[in-house]
């Protein structure tokens, strides 16, 4: 049976625990569930919020393409991807990936892969709004993210 990923792009927060339960409810074939939650971080105390801009339509389509690549590559029983947009204050959730599988290695690798490709391919852009009221600036892409995504080629 082909697994259909659940992909959502939304302004509202998500409940990672509830999303995980949806992947195991009434099932006995899930042995491993790996969840990744990315949060808005602000160690310096200078950030008032991250503003996430996205390309509606393409964001969902690209996340679904990446999710289906993971489903083709690993024996998953379920896969959930939720990405928020809009203004997100420090401490709040930004992104959720949950991979379910019979075995832990597949679940770990699929979640890790999803995050690496999501970072470099899903059409979202972060702008930093500062507490000081200084001009907001766009977060620059990290070359490390491309390196992370490149780990999955030919492996």
């Amino acid at each position: 049976m082909t697994v259909t990923p659940l992909v959502r792009v939304q302004a509202e927060d998500f409940d990672a625990g509830q999303e995980a339960q949806e992947l195991t409810r009434n099932r006995k074939d899930v042995g491993a569930l790996v969840s990744f939650v990315g949060l808005c971080r602000d160690e310096a105390g200078t950030l008032s919020a991250l503003e996430l801009e996205h390309y509606p339509g393409m964001a969902e389509a690209e996340l679904t393409r990446i999710a289906n690549q993971a489903i083709d590559r690993w024996p998953l029983t379920g896969l959930t991807v939720v990405h928020r947009f809009g203004k997100i204050p420090p401490g709040e959730n930004i992104v959720l990936v949950i991979a379910a599988s019979a075995h832990r290695r597949a679940a770990f690798e699929a979640a890790d892969f999803l995050m690496d490709f999501l970072k470099t391919r899903a059409p979202f852009w972060k702008k930093e709004h500062l507490v000081s009221g200084e001009e907001s600036t766009w977060v620059e892409a990290k070359s490390g993210d491309d390196d992370d995504a490149a780990r999955w080629v030919n492996t």
């Binding site: 990315g38 339509g57 393409m58 690209e62 995050m115 999501l118 979202f124 972060k126 977060v139």
Partner: protein, 83 residues
């Protein structure tokens, strides 16, 4: 053709979305960028760092040498920073 801009590309161009007539000699994404740069100073400024700009045709990532074909929408944006 429908053209969309995101993040700092959008801010520099000054519009989110516009509809343009594509001249007959504009065949590829690179041709389209050259054409857009000719439209206004803002467009020229937005595409100044051309290597830093990514392109999607009908919501699929493409490289600059790709033909426009019968794509209805082109989008221009900086490297993604989601996640």
């Amino acid at each position: 053709m429908n053209i969309r801009y995101f993040a700092w590309v959008r801010e520099r161009v000054g519009v989110e979305e516009e509809t343009i007539d594509v001249p007959g000699n504009v065949k590829t994404v690179a041709d389209l960028i050259a054409h857009l740069k000719s439209l206004s100073e803002n467009h020229a400024a937005a595409f100044e760092e051309e290597d830093a700009i990514r392109v999607a045709l009908d919501q699929l990532h493409v490289e600059p040498d790709v033909s426009l074909g019968d794509a209805r929408e082109a989008a221009f944006f900086p490297p993604m920073t989601g996640g």
